[in-house]
C-alpha cells in the first residue's frame, strides 16, 4: 500500500464523517418539519426534497457514485429512465383521459 493511497483513504474517512453528521441533522430536520403540520402538498414536497438530499448523499459518498466508472452511470441512467415510467403508472391509472379538463 502506497502512502498516497493511505492519504486518499484518510480523506475519504473525513468525508464519511461529515456525511454522517449531515444525515443525522437532516433526519432531525425532516422530523421537526413534520411537526409543523404543513398542508399535504407542501409537506410531501419538503419531505421528498429532504429524502432526495439524504439519498443522494448516501449514493454519492457511501456508494462512491460521485467517482464511479462510466459503465455504472450508463446502467443507472437506463434504470432511471424506466423508473420514471414506473412512477408514471399512477398517473396513467388515474388520468381521466381528456387533454382539456372538462
Amino acid at each position: 500500500m502506497t502512502s498516497d493511497h493511505a492519504v486518499d483513504i484518510d480523506r475519504h474517512v473525513r468525508v464519511y464523517i461529515s456525511v454522517f453528521v449531515a444525515l443525522m441533522v437532516l433526519t432531525v430536520i425532516t422530523v421537526a418539519i413534520s411537526r409543523l403540520h404543513l398542508s399535504v402538498p407542501l409537506a410531501v414536497t419538503v419531505a421528498l426534497v429532504v429524502a432526495i438530499v439524504k439519498g443522494s448523499l448516501v449514493a454519492c459518498y457511501f456508494m462512491h457514485l460521485i467517482s464511479e466508472k462510466k459503465l455504472i452511470y450508463a446502467v443507472l441512467a437506463v434504470t432511471a429512465a424506466f423508473f420514471v415510467v414506473l412512477l408514471a403508472l399512477p398517473v396513467v391509472t388515474h388520468s381521466n383521459g381528456y387533454w382539456i379538463p372538462e
Partner: protein, 587 residues
C-alpha cells in the same frame, strides 16, 4: 463435456473451488457450474416443459372440438373430480388454460431461449471461458427448477392448479382456490431465477468478451441476448412486487387489488377494500409486454445467425438491425397499456399507447426486412436449421402484422379477448419463436455433442410442423373475427352467432393432434443422434463466429487457446479470400 481441464496455475485463493480435479457425477452433470452443462439442463427442462404445455393444450383442444363429449381412454385417467365419465369440467379446463400459458411462457420458451441458448452459446460466441458468476448461474437454474416443481405440484393440491389465466388478474385470482398461491410462489422462484440469469448475462457480455470483440463486432445473437437480459432485469421486479402484493392479498387478507363493495356469489366480500384492481394489470403488463420481446428477440438472434451462415453472406443491414433492437428494448417499456384498452382508460391515454405501439412496430419490421433482404442473391443451403429459420420469417410476419389491429384502440375493442388474439400471438410465439428455437437446436447440436442430427428426420419434422401450425392457428382468425371469446370452455357452442364457424374448432384441434405426431421424429432424432449421429468436426457448418473455434463438445473452460476477434461476425464470401468464410478469430 467430460474432459477434465488441464489448466492449472491457480492462486491459493481459488483452492477451494476444485474445478481442476475430475469431478464426481453430481458435480459434473447435476450441480454443475459449467455454463454448457447448465445451458443443456435449461434446454432439456425447457423442451420437457414445452412438451408438457403442449399436452395440456391437446386436452383443451378435445373439449373445444367436441364440447362435453367424453374423451376416450385418456379421459378416465383424470378421475371423477376433473373429468367425470371422461367429460371435462369447466374448472379443469380453466386449470389447463392457465397452466398452458404459464408453462409455455415462463417455463418453456424463456428458459429454452435465454437459459438454454443464452447459457450455452453466448459465452462461446464472445470467446469467454465461462459465465462471469458460475455459481450464481447454477443457483439460477435451481431456482427455476424449484419454480417449475412448485408449478407442477400445484396440480395436486386440493382444488387443483391456478385457474385464473396466465395473467392472474385480480380480483378473480384473489378469491380463487389454493392453487393460485402455489402459482404465485412458483412465479417468485421463476422471477428470481431470471433476475440472477440477467445479471450474469450482462456482466459476462461486458466483461468477458474476447480481445478485439467490440460491441459492433458482436454476432447479432449476442446483441439480442444482451438486450433481453436488460428487459428481464428491469421489467421483472415490478411483477415480483405485484406478486408479493397479491400473495399478501391472498394470505394476509390485505386489499391491494380489491376495491370496496365486492360481492362474490351473492355475499359481500369481508375485506377492508379500497384497493385498485387495475393496479395489478398495470404492474403485470409492465412486465409482460417487455416479456413479449424476451420471447421474440433471442429467436430473431438465432434466425440471424443461421441465415448469415446458410446464405454465405453477411447480414444485410447489421447496424440498423442493432439500432432497431436497442430502440425496441426501450420502447417495449412504454407500450404496456395496449393490453388494457378495454379497461375504460381515457382517450388521451389510449391515444398515447396506441401511438407508441405503432412506433414499436417499426423496428420489428426493420429487423424482419433486413433478414428477408439478407436472402437476396445468396446461394442458399436448405438444411434443417435453415428451413426452420426461413419458416420463422413469414410466420413471424403474419403474427406481427395481425397484431397491428390489436394495437389500435378502435379495432382492438371488437377483437379483444377473442380467438383472433390467440391466433395473433401464437403466430408470433409458436411458429415464430419455437421454430427459431428448433432451428437453434439443429444448428448448435453438433457443437454440444460433436454429432449431427439426422437431416431427413429434421425435414419431416419441419414440413409437418409448418403445415400443421397453420392448420391450427389460421382458423382461429376466422373464429375470432366471428366474435368467439377465448375464455369459453365450450369454444362458443352455446352461442347462436358462433354456430356457422364452430367446425373450425375441430379443424384446429386435428391440426394440433397431427402436429404432435410430427414431433415424434424430432424426439427420436434428438436422442438417437446423441449416440448415433454422424460425427463431425468443430465447424461443420463452416461458420464464422467464435463458438465454432472451440472443440466440439467444448471442454470445461471452452477454448484451447484464448480467442481474439480480428473482424466482424459475418465475413462470408469475402472477395479474394481463399475460402467462402473467414472465421472471426482468424487474423
Amino acid at each position: 463435456m467430460s474432459h477434465p481441464t488441464t489448466v492449472d496455475p491457480h492462486g491459493p485463493h481459488v483452492g477451494h473451488e476444485a474445478h481442476h480435479e475430475e469431478l464426481g457425477f453430481w458435480r459434473k452433470y447435476v450441480f454443475s457450474v459449467d455454463h454448457k452443462v447448465i445451458g443443456i439442463q435449461y434446454g432439456i427442462s425447457g423442451l420437457l416443459f414445452l412438451f408438457f404445455g403442449f399436452c395440456l393444450m391437446m386436452l383443451m383442444r378435445w373439449q373445444l372440438a367436441y364440447p362435453g363429449a367424453p374423451l376416450p381412454i385418456i379421459g378416465a385417467l383424470f378421475g371423477e373430480a376433473r373429468m367425470p365419465g371422461g367429460s371435462m369440467l369447466p374448472e379443469f379446463y380453466n386449470e389447463l388454460g392457465a397452466m398452458h400459458g404459464t408453462i409455455m411462457v415462463f417455463m418453456g420458451v424463456v428458459p429454452l431461449a435465454v437459459g438454454g441458448f443464452g447459457n450455452f452459446v453466448l459465452p462461446l460466441q464472445i470467446g469467454a471461458p465461462d459465465m462471469a458468476f458460475p455459481r450464481l448461474n447454477m443457483l439460477s437454474y435451481w431456482a427455476f427448477f424449484l419454480g417449475g416443481v412448485t408449478m407442477l405440484a400445484s396440480f395436486f393440491v386440493p382444488g387443483g392448479a391456478a385457474q385464473s389465466g396466465w395473467t392472474s388478474y385480480s380480483p378473480l385470482a384473489i378469491i380463487a382456490g389454493s392453487g393460485q398461491t402455489w402459482w404465485l410462489v412458483g412465479m417468485i422462484f421463476l422471477i428470481t431465477s431470471s433476475l440472477l440469469g440477467a445479471i450474469n448475462f450482462i456482466t459476462t457480455t461486458i466483461q468477458l468478451r474476447a480481445k478485439g470483440l467490440m460491441f459492433m463486432r458482436f454476432p447479432f445473437f449476442v446483441w439480442t441476448q444482451f438486450v433481453t437480459a436488460f428487459l428481464l432485469l428491469l421489467a421483472f421486479p415490478p411483477l415480483e412486487a405485484a406478486g408479493v402484493m397479491q400473495l399478501m392479498d391472498r394470505v394476509a387478507g390485505t386489499s391491494f387489488f380489491l376495491p370496496s363493495g365486492l360481492v362474490v356469489s351473492g355475499q359481500p366480500l369481508q375485506v377492508a377494500g379500497s384497493g385498485n384492481a387495475l393496479l395489478w394489470q398495470h404492474l403485470f403488463w409492465f412486465l409482460a409486454h417487455p416479456e413479449v420481446y424476451v420471447l421474440i428477440l433471442p429467436a430473431m438472434g438465432i434466425v440471424a445467425e443461421i441465415i448469415a451462415n446458410n446464405t454465405r453472406k453477411p447480414l444485410w443491414g447489421y447496424k440498423p438491425m442493432v439500432y432497431s433492437l436497442v430502440f425496441l428494448g426501450f420502447m417495449s417499456f412504454i407500450v404496456w397499456a395496449h393490453h388494457m384498452f378495454m379497461t375504460g382508460m381515457g382517450t388521451a391515454m389510449a391515444t398515447f399507447f396506441q401511438t407508441t405501439t405503432m412506433i414499436i412496430s417499426i423496428p420489428s419490421v426493420v429487423i424482419l426486412t433486413a433478414l428477408i433482404l439478407s436472402l437476396w442473391g445468396g446461394s442458399i443451403r436448405f438444411n434443417t436449421p435453415m428451413l426452420f429459420a426461413l419458416g420463422f420469417l413469414p410466420m413471424f410476419g403474419i403474427g406481427g402484422l395481425t397484431g397491428l389491429p390489436l394495437g389500435l384502440n378502435v379495432s382492438d375493442i371488437p377483437l379483444h379477448d377473442t380467438y383472433y388474439v390467440i391466433a395473433h400471438f401464437h403466430y408470433v410465439v409458436a411458429p415464430g419463436t419455437i421454430f427459431a428455437l428448433f432451428a437453434g437446436v439443429y444448428y448448435w447440436f453438433p457443437k454440444a455433442t460433436g454429432r449431427m442430427m439426422n437431416e431427413t428426420l429434421g425435414k419431416i419434422h419441419f414440413w409437418g410442423s409448418m403445415i400443421c401450425m397453420n392448420i391450427v392457428f389460421m382458423p382461429m382468425f376466422i373464429v375470432g373475427m366471428a366474435g368467439v371469446s377465448r375464455r369459453l370452455f365450450d369454444g362458443g357452442a352455446t352461442y347462436d352467432f358462433a354456430q356457422p364457424i364452430l367446425h373450425w374448432n375441430a379443424v384446429s384441434s386435428w391440426g394440433a393432434w397431427i402436429m404432435a405426431l410430427f414431433q415424434l421424429p424430432f424426439i427420436y432424432n434428438f436422442f438417437s443422434s446423441m449416440w448415433n449421429g454422424e460425427k463431425v468436426g468443430d465447424n461443420p457448418w463452416e461458420a464464422t463466429t467464435i463458438e465454432w473455434a472451440a472443440p466440439s463438445p467444448p471442454p470445461h473452460g471452452n477454448f484451447s487457446t484464448e480467442p481474439v476477434a480480428h473482424r466482424g461476425p459475418y465475413d462470408y464470401s469475402l472477395p479474394g479470400a481463399k475460402k467462402d468464410f473467414v472465421p472471426q478469430c482468424e487474423a
